[in-house]
Symmetry: T
């Protein structure tokens, strides 16, 4: 049975708490329930983890060795500053999808640089919590057809 | 009934033709059939168009006014050089999803700059032909829940 | 009798169509009528052409050889990306005025670079459709007094 | 009755003095007479001021509060170096047109940066002393139709 | 009663320990006592926290929701590298003052970039431990007169 | 008795005049009265000077030799363009505090560069007219404890 | 029998028309005759095509699949702006030589960047119409000795 | 007796675990044993510490005050992103050698910038686990002959 | 009889006043006497002028028309910020030598850019007050042998 | 009789020695024989020279004055670093063709800058040893038809 | 028996001559004796060479073909300017270690760029003459265990 | 008796040879005679040396130790590319004046960077062969009054 680890970076634990117009009406717990339900329908198991600490996210990636088929990660602020997370993903060699709730290409210029974008399967940004579901779907498709890579271009 | 226009940029008409390891085993026609089938299952109509000419793609975007609920576009080479396509998308004001077969963030550095990324709903890159399906799904989700934008952050 | 060619770049055919607060209340046809009337009052003939295609604009510039005394061009998006239009203007050697409806200096930073600004008589930007009339007036003044160039500085 | 202040920056007092091939055959006084005559024909009053001192130009802009409907300014060298003039224009909030005798886009690269271009109505460059007349005309048009802004784009 | 959280970033726990000519004669404890005394005189409560870990500082900022009227933060090294602290401050929406013991503008060039300077009320740098007291005073003033923002310019 | 010179740069004479939401409700005269009152309470004398001219501000700094214990300066626009003011401050060698009404780090990018920030005691920005009071307080503290510099770090 | 396609980019159709000192005394037709004659002597067939449209040049490159042994291309203005032509050359995989009439390294700085130079066999610039003949000769040599690549260095 | 602290940055705990062709055949424990043995032969004591957390590495550096004669550090990913580790090394003032297993100068361009290289005794990169032994040797030499610095140049 | 105008920029009036180790033991008056004496010996007349105001220096340059054979200018701080002084020198067309007391190439990086260096006869920097004498000598040599320019290269 | 000097830069003496897949199967002597034979057939004399020393290449260029009609130079590494060779070519004024064995546009980015490309007739790169023959042919064509320059454009 | 060539770049012949505090107390001869002694103890032969000429160093590297197992090079000034030395090292293919007496990362910014760092085994900088011994040791270790490369990472 | 070494860089041996309008009417020998005569009048000895080789110039600088009071150097092309000459001047510690025949600030942009300007007494550029005489005079003044440095500023 396929197993996917979903990692949430710093400040994502605030989702749904305050400022619903910005952080949405759903708490991170509710979103995680939605992801688990989606996994159940797709016949895969999903595990989630959130941390505000760069080192803890590195630990979580390392801990996935031998247990996880794919990682779906929203590194949030660490997208732009963490070489350590990049190195952890390179070291464990687990196929990874990068997701973002907002369209990072339309915000402050320093958010345009992702330190992991060039080493992941692909990147999905701008679809709100839906980004996670599209990312999990993309990871499943990738795993089911390793050969899909041959179809890829432009 | 929801209507989505899928636009393919220059050289995508070569898909499946030669060099299958790079351009895939499926021709653009086969891919378009797959998209139409996906649309049928989702209960929406899908229209596709490909051109090697920047001006023809601008014409196609302009022609979508009043007929199309969302655009899913893979501008290929024009992603990095066309302000005209950006201006056309800004002018028609139709919600748009940007997709790429390959992970543009892991190729030549000039491919990292997208001239439309900051004005679209979101961007999906790296999942081969699956990028189109994820993009259509993302567009449908967006249209069904205009309010989803409020859930978006980080 | 003096003859001036007015060229409109990509997406300017949408003027007056939708979004009047942005694209104005007047269609491109109405604007062209206004320009022709202005020409009539000034005792010159005016010809207008619009295209979304870079190559068609190059063709139009080439076609002006031997027929046109001055060109007034609003290259729109191609202002920032077309070396081909620059080369066409250099090749035909017809005095040219560059006009823009909006103040391009106050928009996205990539709009600050004009690939033709350094080879035209002058540039007029920010006066809405009035920019065209000021540009035609500037071209007429230039043609009437070739010697005006000597008055130019700072 | 509409009132427009025309400001001339440093070294423009040399116009027509020496080097006619560069500074023209007309002195600044003659040019100012031409502007006043143009104003008379247009039914508006025009006031002119020249200074080599940045602070004096700032004083003149501040002094226009409550007396002037629009400013037409050729900041000359201060175009590229004066944040103080920019701040003065921002503070008084009087609609302003920026003019240049020469085509600043075709000279030394440091002349391409204007510190006021993004906060004025529009910019006119390259038409010699005619630039002033086109600038006054543009200011009159702007004041007469505040709504013209809605017609502006690209 | 007004409540202010004072956050000390990495290595500030070494203050007063060694190298008095550089880190001062006062330990962080002594400084915190001084801040608490200042708060007592001003009739407000002050809470202090120091950590070498980026994640712990993010946690502390998140923990201030609903309990704190203003934050005074010296992010030390994280000033220049932490998008996570920026995002935490943006998320909690608590008015914040940025302080630095030394004049960061006169040190290594990478210290000139602050990742939070553009989202805080204001920045105070260069006054040694006095920077904290000036920062607390600035925060109190800000809270007492929300309208003070209207007085702000240049 | 301690003597502090407060210098106001260009356009600050407009404070409180027009546009109260931007320039505040208080005129520069009222602000200066506030500063003098603050000085009286602190047992020091305060002198103020405003000019729109770079040269006049240089003159004022030079004139402070032998008469002034510290300078508190808001160079406004000249913050970003005047090497002459920097050289004057370096030449007279009087301890100086740089203040700004607004948070210059959150405005146009050219406002992020201060040509004096690296040679002053410290910088205070973003607290409206309160910035002046905090700056005077910082200067007094500095003068009273020359040794405070040893407490400075990070 | 070896077949070579010679592609001429925008504005090259003006050769020999006007301004002989710049565009030469020979029309494009005359040049093409010269190339065909050279081909005849070398025992190969040569086909030529010119267009001002980027898309038409992409079409021509795509159309060469299966019919052409080598391409000799003078992309003119598109040298510096067309990723689409680069992608077309990459897609068809036909050995290509890049030629320029003038020495592009000695003109405006934006002409120094060629978007195809790193993916062609080689580049020849500065020899006028002779550049085409040298380019065809270089292509023939390349095709005759695939092993020549091993001789290549520095 | 001389005491040296060897610090291993993030992901170095994976050494020898998986992917031997990349991370080597030896685990971090085996490497640490090798270092301890080397220390024994050289008559010095060696202590090792690894962490994935930036804050924990800062803590470890601070903890070395008064106990350690020299630090040999491989900051791994934090080499390029941590000002906090730089500040900790500056604060404790213990002579430090920077080592890297791989040649960081021949990898991604962002790995060329080391935030500590300019404040350490020296840097050794590219010799695999041997880099640690050379680094320890270099630290011993440095400590034995403080005067060696005088021999240093170019 | 040859006439040379020596211009001193901002803050040079402080020479010899305070801080002799930096500003020298000689006042500007004493230096000017030295220059006049040198002129007397060389059989030329010398006139000197100092101002802290950019506009006053522009006025002085303009005032030299018809009266002065050469200008020797030390623009001090305005070297790096004044386009107005550059434009004045270009307008009057009087041969000019640029001098600096200190070696501007060995100070802050913004002092390396001179806005007049490319339009003067030559530049002399680093010889203290002797720079003025060498500059006057250079101007005399230049005037005496207009043909010397032909000897100039590399 | 026409005389051409062929200059080989540093490390080209290793051609054909070792690593045939990179440096080719032919030694520099064999290549030089090929060039001499080509010269013989074309009825011109050819002289060759190789050196690893920048100064010796400058000497060789200077020595060509009065003896050589054209220079064909492969400056190898000095292409990117030698202003002295550029200055020598400018000083002797002999028409020069720049050749490179490999396509320098497709290698390390520092190899894209040629310090002589803008002052030579033209540049030929990427055709292996054939680049020399094409370069000699280009030089002969240039000498035979000085007027060919008029045919040059784009 | 292993043979290592140690190359010293320009100005290293001055070591120990003058300015002992900067160039050390030992002459280059004494240092070379130390290296030879070290080689004797390690059972390898060591050869040394110094030159101030770039070409002579290229010659020396070329001369090492077939005679030398490894090169230890301190290119001194040529580290930052010589592509010819880089090309020579690439051409001969002999494993090379780069050493520097001083910590080049803590000096002028142009010394941070090494033109050979990315093509050598590794780099050692900052240990004075000890850098040579560590470099030789590193080269020996590398040669003894070609497989050590597999242990290399991060 | 004071002794000054005058060094001429590459291509200066061509002076007076050809192209008198560019390289002058005087040969290097004639210029050297002029310098020796000037030395004789000033009561000092002058020695001259020219080389096209960077290494030979480094040798000459090294050879000046113990024999020369000052160096006057025109490094010509090596001004912009030689770190080795910079290091030699730093190593010998002999006061040096940098001279240039032409105004290097008004030529190609790469000529604006001098690699020795920040370490010499001063720089003189633009006075033709007169630059050498002014440079020798400047060196004499410097040596005669070591204290002159105290007079230096701005």
């Amino acid at each position: 049975m396929m197993h996917i680890l979903v990692l949430h970076g710093p400040n994502l634990n605030l989702l749904g708490g305050r400022e619903p117009e910005w952080y949405g009406r759903h708490s991170l717990d509710e979103i995680n329930q939605k992801l688990l339900a989606f996994g159940g329908q797709a016949g895969i198991t999903i595990e989630t983890f959130q941390s505000n600490a760069e080192g803890a996210l590195v630990d979580a990636i390392q801990g996935a060795i031998g247990k996880t088929d794919a990682i779906v990660i929203n590194p949030a602020a660490y997208t732009h500053t963490s070489v350590a997370i990049r190195d952890a993903l390179l070291a464990v060699g687990i196929p990874t999808v990068e997701v973002h709730l907002s369209n990072i290409h339309g915000r402050e210029s320093f958010r345009k640089r992702s330190l992991i974008a060039d080493i992941v399967i692909g990147q999905i940004a701008g679809f709100g919590t839906q980004s996670y579901l599209l990312g999990i779907q993309g990871a499943i498709d990738y795993l089911q057809t390793q050969t899909i890579k041959e179809d890829k271009t432009v």
